[in-house]
């Protein structure tokens, strides 16, 4: 660093000598002072900036004739000096459309029209009107090439962001998040207490941020824009700027409250015709609902045995062993309503902002309280923010931003998990009532067993193991809490010693403690002796930057300008996890304490520490104010990588409408862009060496845990690798930004193509070699696609306006090389999402039907498909294209917005439906058919014409066959590799009404006089109100594995929501 400062010092010595001194003040159109305006002696590099009161003093060299005043967002002004020594000017604000400001990867504002790389911005208004409680979800559908999906409708559930397709296979695909110039954590950690395939939804840490505090979000998509962040930038960068007060602004107070009403947006349709049992016979202990026809029962009370064992439910019901099932009652709706409700959240925000001549302040206090659509799922968030900027003098200002966040949530178990909500609920036979879920079992001898769970497989509670949880037990007895205390603060010392030099010293710390508890009382499925897991995450990210910016707008007067940035960064991320669990309670108690536990306890701790340091520089040239060239380079050394790596980037923008005779009535602005850049993905920590590890062996749900045998080790099945490099993504893009008809029609189009080399993979090894995988730079993948953003001002004047807007992206991803291994799975379970050479990332793989060389199904002698002994590709969850389109407008003080989003051509594995067909609870298996000819079922049994059979008639190419219980409970439904899982894949395309909003603002002079308030804003929004899709029972946007590279699969995943949101904001 010393070297640079010395050089900078040298540079200051070659400065020209000054002659005349001019003073003055710069104001805006409302006569409010404008601080930070650049004042430059034209044709020289002599200049200064205005202070907090808008005042400046500048000594100009002899011969200077004009002063140039410029400030981002305002029209530049040249003023003749003449003989004046006092020059006061007023700058006019530019139309935002014309000179859109973007925030670059270092948090500095630049002009969008001068950028050679693409970015999309979302404003604070768009974020707030979306009606979402979390910042990430509010961005959905608003930018081309940016996929934003929440993993399900649970309150606080994580959100997956993907920019321009997948950029890594094994690493995180989430973009880097920069808030006010400093990276913050957007962890989505599963930890040891819960897994992706089965457990609870985990949160995205960025959603801690209060959307009220956000001024703007900038999505930097291309490699060239992100290259400054080296090995952390391959997934793009989200640059968030928080609100600040303004200088010389009176105190503004606003209070906003938002109420949202949420409900399930798609329900699995369940049959109500057939009772619990198998082979058409009722059985009160059967797993399946292939029993008798409920309407054929005599009706009335069941005949029960009242002399022996029975169950006394806590709700008063007494349940006796059933001798004859007479009742025709069905409970499908009641069982659903027992665990689902209308969800809601109430969000309060108080903000105070303002500023004096030297300081600005912004303070906010926010509280969000949410109840999910699943009973007892909750999310509370309290945020406090204080942003301050102080101008000590004309040269030095200090910005400090501090944010405290507290969140507390309870998550309900889901997915592949015997305690999962949907698993227990949807497998429940229609004639079983879940309400009496807890009570005391009395055996034949009259011995009482209190606090027993009663589930449909154990309707008397006569066994401590319920097999699956009664869903009410899942919602009411089990807990999955997470409590986060987070503090982040950053400070930026800006020194402006001379007009052409700005120094920024920047430091930030983001730290949080996430305390998670998972509690299952005695008698829970999988944990009949109870279970308690505690997991504490302590995460700290420290970031330091020293940045020098040099500005020579007239390097060659009126021809070439140069803006140079050089900076040095240290980034240190340290996470410590402490985990403890017991699965044996002494006493049946709700207390979440280890003193109630019996050995063996599972205890583990884990450290994850990564540090990197980078030196980066940017040279930005402008030629004749129409060609803009940015060159940047980043040299980085990181703890997880051997050696240092260099990340270059280049982009070029040419405003060709500045050529004579190009601009006209049709084309009002035109820019061509060209960009190239390299960015990377870091290896995960500690992968250099092969280690010993502890383990559990299980051949099929029969785990042997080494810790219960006194401990021991094995050589890790993952082989270490001391030669790790970063994954390098090289991207090339070409694009154009065009504006037509006096800027009424705006079109941005970009074609990009990237290749990611040296992708880090746990490459599958042949198990017979003694290792199962090796972490290595093995893969290669590419993305290419077209991004289009379009907007058109249909109508526009002072009283009304109407805009159409839309975006489109058709990303094509392809895995090019996996070092000889033909498959790397991204998820586990029967259907997996994978990397397979020649296929797009995420491709679905699993058991399938055997096929002839011509692609037709191989049929057995009964005309049914057969299981292919080898698994294969069964679907592609990637869409052909996705897009958003909307209309927004205003009439006087009313404004509205309607946004549709669409996802076309991706497959989706409806595993819940497929499995429930085996259980006989889905409507697919509800119908009865009257056969018009003899048909065989899958076992070859012939059903004569005229028989009435529960099932469907199918045809796999060998003539009609009968799909009945025999088929649905073997190859045609169910789970594991021995059902034909291919048949659970369906077209997962969807289109949704993502957002509707209507706002009205009450304001004006009269109103102000009457109420002393400047305005009251009222708005209504709807989220996800309509969904068009072929997927029957669930929103295909959900993802079983949450925020993950694998996608396109659901398995008893908690459902999504639609919401009606009302808000009111009072501004003083």
């Amino acid at each position: 660093m010393k070297k640079i400062f010395l050089l900078l010092l040298c540079l200051t010595l070659v400065r020209a000598h000054a002659q005349t001194t001019i003073q003055g003040k710069v104001t805006d159109e409302n006569s409010e002072p404008l601080p930070g305006v650049s004042v430059l002696a034209k044709g020289t590099n002599v200049g200064t900036t205005t202070d907090g009161t808008g005042a400046y003093t500048l000594t100009v060299p002899q011969g200077t004739t004009q002063l140039v005043f410029s400030f981002i967002g305002y029209t530049s002004l040249s003023e003749d000096i003449g003989n004046r020594q006092q020059i006061n000017v007023s700058l006019a604000q530019e139309s935002t459309q014309l000179q859109e400001v973007v925030v670059n990867a270092l948090g500095f504002k630049t002009q969008k029209d001068r950028a050679g790389s693409t970015s999309s911005s979302v404003s604070s208004t768009a974020i707030k009107t979306s009606g979402e409680a979390s910042i990430l979800n509010s961005l959905a559908g608003k930018a081309s090439g940016v996929k934003i999906v929440r993993s399900n409708g649970d309150p606080g559930a994580g959100t997956n962001i993907q920019i321009r397709g997948a950029n890594t296979i094994g690493g995180s695909s989430q973009p880097l998040i920069i808030v006010d110039g400093v990276p913050i954590s957007n962890d989505n950690l599963y930890g040891s207490g819960s897994s992706r395939s089965g457990g609870v939804s985990q949160q995205s840490r960025l959603n801690d941020l209060n959307p009220e505090d956000v001024e703007s979000v900038q999505v930097l998509k291309g490699a060239s824009a992100a290259a400054l962040w080296g090995s952390r930038a391959a997934n793009g960068v989200l640059v968030i700027t928080t609100k600040q007060g303004k200088l010389n602004q009176r105190m503004k107070v606003s209070y906003a409250t938002t109420y949202s009403l949420d409900e399930i947006n798609r329900k699995h349709p369940l049959q109500t015709t057939w009772g619990q049992g198998t082979a058409g016979r009722y059985s009160p202990t059967s797993a399946n609902s292939w029993g008798d026809k409920i309407s054929a029962r005599p009706g009335g009370e069941d005949v029960v045995t009242t002399t022996g064992e029975y169950f006394q439910a806590d709700n008063g019901d007494k349940i006796y062993p059933i001798r004859t099932k007479n009742s025709q009652e069905v409970f499908v709706d009641q069982n659903f309503n027992d665990v689902f409700q209308k969800g809601n959240f109430l969000d309060h925000n108080l903000t105070i902002s303002g500023g004096s001549g030297k300081t600005t302040n912004y303070f906010s206090l926010g509280y969000l309280g949410q109840e999910g659509i699943v009973k007892n799922s909750t999310y509370d968030r309290l945020t406090v923010r204080f942003n301050n900027q102080t101008f000590f003098n004309n040269y030095v200002n200090l910005t400090t931003k501090a944010n405290y966040i507290y969140t507390n949530a309870n998550r309900v178990q889901q997915n592949s998990n015997t305690a999962g909500l949907y698993l227990g609920l949807l497998r429940t036979p229609p004639d079983f009532e879940n309400a009496s879920y807890k009570g005391t079992y009395f055996n034949n001898a009259g011995v009482a067993f209190p606090n027993r769970q009663r589930s449909y497989r154990r309707y008397l509670g006569n066994n401590i193991n319920p097999v699956y949880n009664n869903p009410l037990w899942t919602t009411d007895e089990q807990k999955g809490t997470t409590t986060v205390n987070r503090f982040n603060a950053n400070t930026n010392l800006n020194i402006n010693p001379i007009s052409w030099l700005q120094l920024d010293l920047r430091g930030g710390v983001d730290t949080y403690v996430d305390k998670r508890v998972y509690f299952s009382p005695i008698g829970s499925a999988s944990f009949v002796n109870g279970r308690l897991d505690n997991e504490d995450f302590t995460n700290t990210e420290i970031n330091l930057d020293a940045i020098a910016r040099l500005d020579f707008p007239n390097l060659i007067p009126d021809k070439v300008g140069l803006n140079a940035t050089v900076g040095y960064n240290i980034n240190d991320r340290n996470r410590k996890v402490l985990y403890a669990a017991t699965s044996n309670f002494l006493v049946n108690s709700q207390l979440q304490t280890f003193t109630n536990g019996i050995a063996p306890f599972e205890v583990s701790n884990n450290t994850n520490h990564i540090r990197s340091n980078r030196l980066y520089s940017i040279l930005s040239f402008d030629f004749l104010n129409q060609v803009f060239l940015n060159l940047s380079g980043t040299q980085e050394a990181a703890s997880t990588i051997q050696g240092t790596y260099f990340y270059p980037s280049m982009d070029l923008a040419w405003q060709f409408t500045d050529l004579p005779n190009v601009k006209g009535n049709i084309l009002s602005f035109g820019k061509l862009r060209l960009a190239y850049g390299q960015v990377g993905v870091q290896p995960s920590a500690y992968r250099f060496g092969t280690t010993y590890e502890t383990f559990t062996y299980s051949t099929y749900d029969d785990a042997l845990d080494i810790n219960e045998f006194g401990g021991g080790f094995r050589l890790n099945d993952d082989q270490g690798n001391p030669n790790l490099k970063p994954e390098i993504k090289t991207e090339f893009e070409i694009g154009t930004d065009l504006r037509f008809f006096k800027d009424r029609l705006t079109l941005g189009a970009t074609y990009y193509q990237n290749e990611i080399r040296d992708i880090l993979l746990a490459v599958n090894q042949s198990p017979s070699s003694g290792f199962l995988s090796k972490y290595a730079n093995a893969g290669r993948m590419e993305n290419k696609g077209l991004e289009v953003d379009l907007s058109y001002q249909l109508l526009r004047n002072n009283d009304y306006g109407l805009d159409l807007y839309g975006n489109y992206n058709n990303n094509r991803n392809k895995v090019l090389d996996l070092a000889g291994v033909d498959r790397v799975d991204l998820t586990n379970q029967s259907i997996t999402s994978n990397a397979i050479v020649g296929q797009p990332l995420g491709i679905l793989f699993g058991s399938r039907a055997a096929r002839n060389p011509d692609g037709s199904l191989v049929l057995d002698e009964n005309g049914f498909p057969k299981l292919d002994p080898q698994q294969g590709i069964i679907g592609n969850p990637n869409p052909d294209w996705r897009g958003g389109f909307g209309i927004r407008g205003f009439f006087k003080k009313v404004n509205f917005n309607v946004l549709f989003e669409t996802y076309q051509g991706g497959d989706f594995a409806e595993r819940t439906r497929f499995v429930l067909n085996s259980f006989g609870t889905y409507t697919d298996t509800e119908d009865e058919v009257t056969l018009t000819k003899d048909l065989k079922n899958a076992a070859g049994k012939i059903f004569p014409a005229g028989s009435v059979v529960r099932g469907n008639i199918g045809n796999y190419g060998g003539g009609d066959v009968l799909l009945d219980e025999q088929w649905y409970t073997t190859l045609g439904g169910g789970l594991g590799g021995s059902a034909i899982n291919e048949f659970s894949i369906n077209d997962g395309s969807w289109t949704r009404l993502r957002e509707v909003s209507l706002g009205y603002s009450i304001s004006g002079e009269k109103f102000r006089k009457a109420t002393k308030l400047s305005s009251i804003d009222l708005s209504f929004s709807g989220r996800n109100l309509v969904l068009w899709t072929k997927i029957k029972g669930i929103d295909p946007e959900v993802n079983q594995s949450g925020v993950d590279n694998g996608f396109g699969i659901e398995y008893f995943t908690n459902p999504s929501t639609r919401s009606w949101v009302f808000s009111m904001k009072i501004n003083y």
């Binding site: 070659v14 797993a287 500690y686 092969t690 062996y697 080898q870």
Partner: protein, 466 residues
Amino acid sequence: MKKIKYILLAFLIGSSYSCESLVEGINDNPNEISSDNFEAGVLLLKGIELANVGNQLGHLTRIGGMWSGQTVGTALLYKSIYEYNLSAEETSTVWEHAYQGVAKQARLMREHTKNSPKAAQYSGISKVLEANSIGTIANLFGDAPYSEIATDGIDDPKFDSQKEVFAQLQTLLDGAIADLGAATNTAVPEDLHFAGNTLKWAKVAHTLKARMYIYTREYDKAYQSALKGISATSEALVFTPPNIGNGSLNLNYKMINERGGYWAFTGSYLDKLLTSRGNSKTNEAARLTYYRFDGNAANNNKGIAAAGRPMTLIGYEENLLILAETATRAGKPEEGLGYLNTLRAFLASGKGFDKLNAADALKYDAYTLADFAPGGIENADGIPQNRALLREIIQERYVTGFTNTLGFDDLRRLGAKERDIAVLPPFNSATASKYPQRFIVAQTELSANPNAPRDPGIFVETEVNK
């Protein structure tokens, strides 16, 4: 223009500078012990044993049991497998346990402990475990990698023929027996089976040799090995579940607990056989009660699938029955019958299994050769006497071998070639015309190893049964 030069110079210097010393050492793993720095190779032993236990007593034996009529798959995955639908995914864990969990670790353990005073003991024990594990793979899958496995520099080991694998394992076991003979018999607390007892391990090695000679139909060698094999229950290779948590239970109990309703005993061919098998000298009622497990509710099980019930990997009973079969085949029916009667006396003494219900009859009187003569109580259909005796020995193997793969092994060994003495349960699928002969090679090996052959499916005989 001068300034540009300075600026560019400054940037050049800057770009070449970035500090590796700032990040050095941070990537040393603080969470796991490095394999470079590890003295106690013996800590690998338990893992080797547990991986082998899982393989010998887990999913594979349940599938083999269903395919040989001993149990029934009643729902979902197990119902489907029961009806002969097996995908390569199902065998991945077992395959990985054998190669990564046992063979790789066994070799590493021998290397790590070669300078230990107990080197020969560790070497002998680990070789027996390796032979047990890979032997089961070759038995159930046929051709399998062995000669090139767990070798530095070979990422994709070739597949050896099934007979080649067995031949190499016989040599490995000879080495194990030599090591165990040379070793001092000291305590090894890490050994879950025998706490290091070399004499018992050597007996197990001999019975294991005999078992593999049975596979390859080398009955004389099997006889010779079995003579030196396990001679008492205390010498049997047994897994005793500590039953102290969710990861140390009887494997069948654990599986039923996790997957209630998938798997059943009631209605199986074995269930019926035990009811029908009785005669004036035999009553199987007590054994049936012991065997009959509840596949819906694990806690109801008190017998063979009770939470803490020990499970036999290689048993005294098997050794006796190998002697009985091979002696009879060698034309010594008296001797063969003697071994069978020794087993019957052992069962009658109540040591073979727990008598759960006091009211159940338990009767295994000694047979005489006359019982097997045409018209005898064990030969109503009048086949030659020695065949009838062999038939009873094989049937006893089928019954005794429940929860192991003996029944499935014999079905494949004898089901086509010696139908007169084989136990032939009905097919589980109306569309089947043949018993399954093998398992499908693990998906993970098929995917990663270019040397893996295309899997021929479950109905193709392995080399020894062709």
